[in-house]
């Protein structure tokens, strides 16, 4: 997942340097799109990322529709609705990972598996800047409604203590996983950036990077001493069912 983040950020910055003035006024479009998301919820600030963290994203298909309305010759407004499932497993080696459940605070040191899956309906709204040659840059916000959330941690090896760098209890290798499903929140909001290229008439290929602002857990459910925010890269294939040319003066 970290590689995807780096790739998207680099691609976006390099593309920004190549922008030129467009020649044609874009049409109003309405279409469908499919895609896949790679990523999930990660600790924020990033300093809380475990010292060893190996994500294993699961690729699942997202389905949706989109509408694009030109504002000027170079700018358009885009809106989408997308149904998607984001699934990510990870293993990590953590040190003094703080867990809090009510008054109970424990610090875990060791290795653990983490499993997360979120089924989301997402509503992105963004501005699109049209570049020559069918290239576009987009930036906006998204609002997501979580239909189903799963977040589980299974300690594998290690120990817990009532304070940092302290041993109180050894983790049994057959220990039950800790389930935080019921604590996951129902909505999210965040920023969206992307690049899109027309590969055939009516068919666009795009990559996106989205970053949530909101902890995936309900407010008041403070299990960790940091936030878990959604951070994802997406690949999207969109087909315009309807294209209505806009008259230009």
């Amino acid at each position: 997942m970290k590689a995807i983040i780096v790739s998207i950020l680099l691609a976006a910055s390099l593309t920004l340097q190549a922008q030129e003035t467009p020649q044609q006024h874009p049409p109003v479009v309405a279409g469908i799109q499919i895609g896949t998301d790679i990523g999930g919820a990660i600790p924020f600030p990033f300093k809380h990322l475990p010292e060893r963290y190996n994500p294993y994203p699961h690729l699942t298909l997202s389905l949706g529709g989109r509408v694009g309305v030109p504002l000027t010759a170079t700018w358009s407004l885009g809106m989408e609705i997308t149904y998607k499932t984001i699934s990510l497993n990870a293993d990590a080696r953590v040190k003094n990972q703080k867990f809090q459940d009510g008054a109970a605070i424990q610090y875990f040191t060791g290795s653990a598996n983490m499993q997360q899956r979120f089924t989301i309906v997402e509503f992105p709204v963004y501005a699109k800047y049209n570049l020559p040659g069918g290239n576009r840059l987009l930036a906006g916000i998204y609002n997501g409604w979580t239909l189903d959330g799963l977040f589980r941690v299974e300690p594998l090896k290690g120990f817990t203590g009532a304070k940092a760098d302290w041993f109180d209890a050894v983790m049994d290798e057959n220990m039950d996983e800790m389930r935080f499903d019921d604590a996951t929140g129902s909505w999210d909001i965040g920023l969206l950036f992307g690049y899109e290229r027309q590969i055939f008439p009516r068919l666009d290929l795009g990559i996106r990077f989205s970053c949530g602002f909101k902890d995936i857990f309900k407010s008041g459910q403070k299990y960790f001493d940091y936030s878990m925010i959604h951070m994802r890269g997406s690949v999207v294939l969109a087909y315009d069912l309807v294209r209505v040319p806009v008259k230009t003066r």
């Binding site: 780096v6 994500p55 867990f99 040191t109 594998l156 090896k157 109180d168 209890a169 983790m171 057959n174």
Partner: protein
């Protein structure tokens, strides 16, 4: 510039994610343990012996040695990432104490190390001391230069014939020692081969040993979630208390303290299990393991005790809770359900012979190397005549093996007899005080 830093940070994070955690090493070891800054400063510290799970610091005994403190410099193996619970300064009040810390492996598995002191032979020491009929029960204290003979003679003078072995390997056969009264201390001078040093050993009679803190006066962390019976000296008594469960607490009695064990329903954080947890108090120690399939695996029963006891007596009262319940696994969670029956408390005693080496790990089930020499128990069902009021109880030990010598003693009190199966009644209470060993 900030963007550049972000890219560099992300690339570094990516690079750090190359090792799968299941490939991380489980091994951890201390390779060097150097003792520095000792107090008293002129103590002669000898070799430090490092074995798996044990570090023995050898030093010369002397009268003003304790409290003995030192700091350390350590070197660990390349698969060891951390040392936890290691004090900034080790402090020993007696020569028989120990300090435990953990070496943490790459994978996170902790490896316990017990740091103990080992007396260096001064060349003028008594190394063995035996009298007929008292094999294994005489205590030689190399730190104090003392020999303690457990005996309560009915008449004096009390004469015994002893055989001693000395530092240089020589034996003193059939030495007649006469005690004029119980408080008399006999002195026995041992001289080094070169004649340069004479150590005067003190030989005394003492009443048969009782367990430390057997009146349950000493507790730690009272008023906090980590309240527990004082594990020192000698770490004799243990409970299942930790930050999740506090089933054994001190209560006031006759101007002092007693230990009250209570069965309760505990919600285990993070896992949302509801567990019927019995209060416990036993000789041994507790190592919390967050596994709920075999709760007994968390209790290490037994402390070193080399004299055969006849019975264990104690003051106690018991009140059974109203509704017997059991935690059963329903899917991934333990939930509490009502069951038929009445809760019972229990006290049981076992005298063990441990033929193995290292630390005894006995959970009450058969273990290689452990022979149960004798056993006894009492069930409190809440209907006994003394129910709900203090009474004195005695558990006689019925021996099935009179050949092997005792090495360990197990005494267990629990507010719910089947607490290890998560069966009990909320509110069952067993309160105990003044445990006495009878010989």
């Amino acid at each position: 510039m900030k963007q550049l830093y972000m890219y560099i940070s992300l690339v570094l994070l990516l690079a750090g994610a190359c090792v799968k955690v299941n490939n991380l090493a489980d091994e951890a070891a201390v390779e060097r343990f150097t003792v520095i800054a000792v107090q008293p400063a002129d103590v002669r510290v000898g070799e430090v012996v490092i074995e798996p799970g044990k570090i023995r610091v050898r030093l010369s005994p002397r009268d003003d040695l304790f409290p003995f403190t030192f700091r350390t410099e350590t070197k660990v193996s390349h698969t060891t990432v951390d040392l936890v619970n290691i004090p900034a300064e080790f402090r020993f009040e007696t020569g028989s104490g120990s300090e435990r810390f953990y070496a943490v492996a790459e994978s996170g598995i902790p490896h316990a190390y017990d740091v103990t002191l080992e007396a260096i032979d001064t060349g003028a020491d008594i190394t063995t001391f035996s009298i007929q009929g008292e094999a294994g029960s005489i205590t030689i204290d190399p730190w104090a230069g003392a020999v303690h003979i457990p005996a309560t003679p009915a008449t004096f003078p009390y004469k015994l014939t002893a055989t001693l072995a000395l530092s240089n390997g020589s034996a003193v056969q059939d030495t007649l020692i006469t005690f004029e009264n119980i408080n008399q201390v006999k002195e026995f001078a041992v001289i080094t081969d070169d004649g340069a040093y004479t150590r005067t050993w003190k030989i005394s009679l003492e009443s048969p040993a009782q367990l430390p803190n057997a009146d349950f006066e000493l507790w730690i962390n009272e008023g906090t979630t980590t309240v527990n019976i004082d594990p020192m000296p000698g770490k004799v008594w243990g409970t299942g208390n930790n930050s999740f469960v506090q089933g054994t607490l001190p209560v006031n009695r006759n101007g002092g303290r007693a230990a009250e064990m209570t069965t309760g329903i505990q919600k285990i954080p993070f896992l949302n299990h509801e567990l019927v947890t019995a209060g416990t108090l036993y000789t041994g120690n507790f190592v919390l393991s967050l596994s709920f399939e075999n709760p007994r695996s968390m209790t290490n029963f037994g402390v070193s005790h080399k004299r055969r006891i006849a019975a264990v007596a104690f003051d106690a009262y018991y009140v059974a809770g109203v509704q017997l319940q059991q935690s059963v696994k329903n899917g991934s969670k333990y939930v509490v359900t009502d069951i038929e029956g009445r809760d019972t408390g229990e006290a049981w005693v076992e005298v063990l012979n441990w033929a193995g080496s290292g630390e005894l790990k006995y959970h009450g089930d058969p273990v290689d190397g452990v022979t149960v020499l004798g056993r006894g128990n009492i069930i409190f069902d809440g209907t006994e005549a003394s129910a709900g009021a203090w009474s004195n109880f005695e558990i006689p030990v019925a021996y099935t093996n009179t050949i092997l010598a005792p090495t360990h003693l197990v005494i267990v009190f629990t507010s719910s007899k089947d607490g290890d199966k998560f069966i009990g009644a909320k509110g069952s209470k067993l309160t105990v005080d003044n445990v006495t060993l009878r010989y």
